[in-house]
Amino acid sequence: MEISDNMDLDQEISKTVGSPLLESKVRIACRDVNVFYNKNVQAIFNVNLDIGKNQILAMIGPSGCGKSTLLRCFNRMNDTIEDCVVDGLIELDGENIHSKKIDPVVLRANVGMVFQKPNPFPKSIYDNVAYGPRLHGLTQNNSELDDIVEESLTKAGLWKETKDRLNKPGTGLSGGQQQRLCIARAIAVKPEVILMDEPTSALDPIATATIEELMSELKSAYTIVIVTHSMQQAARISDRTAYFHLGRLVEVDETGHIFTNPNHSLTENYITGRFG
């Protein structure tokens, strides 16, 4: 039963439909990416995908389809999981991120990440934002660091609320503020790409709206890849949308196209709520 299901599936999703590859302005490129957990459990199958500069790519799909796994490939966070093997080519600005020349530490300074549950350090708001710049030695003196902290908090839309309490603990903020603090912390090291794994799923609708607004503003300076469970969110903020199913990339296209006129029946089932 299950085997025949999978065989049907392989037939059905053997090739990604839509337009996974871009002509120009590619920031991240994946070619034949496969990811395995524990050597033989495969979580991602043959993904080919381009992510454009200054775009927001939304990754949608049912739980356990591998969205987080693929997202974590882009900053090599999967390296920190034992027995996780990433196979295939992933390029950032034309450079293979797995090549010996690239240190994961440098890569992660260039590709920031925001997690599902806000995870500020148990330190002051200032220290949270300043952690990255200090770590990489980005500033010469304290006033430069102050500037970076102010700039990052401003970009994250948190400066007004926190400028008088920078020495207060970051964990004392509300959930939405904490998540914006995490965004500020990520952009303080001036990355090119920000990865977000369901950044608003733990937040209330008002905080969610604030973060969504923020993402649209950040788009001009950064490339954003966001995993989301909310199709409305994907439709509202993203330029392109990728639909995953059981580790396969089923369909990628302009967001408007995906939500109005999906080519694949699985995509259509998912976005119309018949599946997932």
Binding site: V105, M113, N119, G132, L135, P169, T171, A186
Partner: protein, 427 residues
């Protein structure tokens, strides 16, 4: 009955259960408090006599003849040091009670003073060289039987034959008391001397310093080794690796090994193979380190494990290396737990007696150790030695040594608590 009534009917039973459980809890806490109070009260009460000593006021004549000194104007330190002081105290007593002539009584009169009195007189002369040839009014340490009698530990109403203090000694004490020439004073000696065969001269300082040096060695060795081992096992060691598993099992078993086994190991390895000096705090600390390691390793691992993975992910995703994640975030957050484990391990080590007996720390050491290489004993072993001594004065000393041990423990814990508070993140 509808649902609501059924729920209501069962409600009383539920609350009764809760009340019963609360009662059990309060009962057990009261019981343990009672035992604790009883223990502390008993030890405290028994130790009180040890903190005072009986002194007799005498006019000591430092005449050159009884001191076996040549007739000179001044003397060198060595001459004064090796002079004879044993006759000075008894001469003063004979003068005070000239009626005593019989040999046996004279001996009893001599025994009113501690055999250590001569050393106090020597120290007095060494401090004031001009005492030689003069008569000085001084307080001199009484013997242990007189001390016990003055403290009321020997009852004057029991028959003379059953009593360590003779009738004429009782009379002399009464006479001295009437003249205000006998007095209980604070026993400074207890805090400034090492062990002695005579209870009135025995002090705790030797064992206290011995314990301090031993704990220092234990802490300096076990804390860094255990924390590094725990960090390696928890953060770096490959998972599902058979030899890491074996190491883990061994560490857990090590925590359950009877402590005397570590003593035998210390004797065989440190002393016989490596030639570390016997009875020294160094070898004691080395043995206790073996004992303390598993405790600190296990608690450190638990503390590291309890640091939320989201903090590690956050730091990693900004570009911190594994080592930076550990030193910047994981260790500070785990520090309160690590300190708690360490203090438990150190407290165990402080109270440990058995393994130290094996490595010779039970030897009689009168000198106060000046380094980790000098022969020494430690507080619990001192308790053991004194509790095993026949003289009456050692009963109070044993309790006083236990009190000292508890105070030492208290201060050790206090330091740990202060440190923990410092590391505890308040948010």
């Amino acid at each position: 009955m509808n649902n609501l009534e059924i729920v209501k009917a069962g409600l009383n039973k539920r609350y009764a259960k809760e009340r019963r459980f609360k009662f059990y809890g309060i009962f057990s806490i009261s019981l343990s408090l009672l035992f604790l109070f009883f223990l502390l009260f008993d030890i405290g009460a028994k130790s009180i006599p040890a903190f005072t000593q009986t002194y007799i006021n005498l006019d000591i004549e430092f005449d050159k003849k009884s001191m076996k000194l040549q007739d000179q104007d001044s003397y060198s330190e060595e001459t004064l040091f090796s002079a004879s002081y044993s006759k000075l105290g008894r001469n003063a007593l004979y003068k005070l009670f000239p009626e005593v002539t019989e040999r046996k009584q004279k001996k009893a009169l001599r025994q009113m003073l501690s055999s250590g009195a001569r050393y106090d007189l020597r120290d007095a002369v060494l401090e004031n060289n001009d005492y030689v040839g003069t008569t000085q009014n001084l307080w001199v340490l009484a013997g242990d039987d007189i001390d016990a009698f003055v403290k009321g530990l020997i009852d004057r109403n029991i028959p003379e034959a059953d009593r360590r203090v003779k009738d004429y000694q009782v009379k002399w004490v009464d006479i001295l008391e009437a003249q205000n020439k006998i007095e209980r004073r604070f026993n400074i000696n207890f805090f400034t001397s090492g062990d002695s065969r005579e209870p009135e001269q025995a002090g705790i300082l030797g064992a206290l310093k011995g314990s301090f040096y031993t704990m220092l060695v234990t802490l300096l060795l076990s804390f860094p080794i255990a924390v590094s081992a725990a960090i390696y096992l928890e953060e770096f060691a490959p998972k599902n690796n058979w030899w890491i598993d074996i190491i883990e099992i061994n560490i857990n078993n090590l925590a359950a090994v009877p402590s005397i086994v570590f003593g035998i190991l210390g004797l065989a390895v440190y002393i016989n193979v490596f030639g570390v000096p016997r009875s020294a705090p160094l070898v004691g600390g080395l043995v206790l380190t073996l004992m303390t390691l598993p405790t600190i390793i296990i608690s450190t691992r638990a503390a590291l494990k309890s640091v939320p993975p989201s903090i590690r992910e956050a730091a990693l995703s900004i570009g911190a290396s594994k080592m930076q994640v550990i030193t910047h975030h994981v260790l500070p957050l785990a520090m309160p737990g690590i300190l708690t484990g360490s203090i438990i391990g150190m407290a165990q080590a402080l109270g440990e007696t058995a393994p130290l007996l094996m490595i010779g720390m039970v030897a009689f050491v009168a000198d106060i150790p000046q380094s980790i290489l000098d022969p020494a004993t430690v507080l619990p072993v001192q308790v053991f030695i004194w509790s095993d001594s026949p003289e009456r004065g050692f009963i109070a000393l044993t309790s006083a040594a236990i009190v000292t041990l508890l105070v030492f423990l208290f201060f050790m814990n206090l330091i740990a608590i202060v440190l923990r508070k410092k590391f505890e993140t308040r948010w």
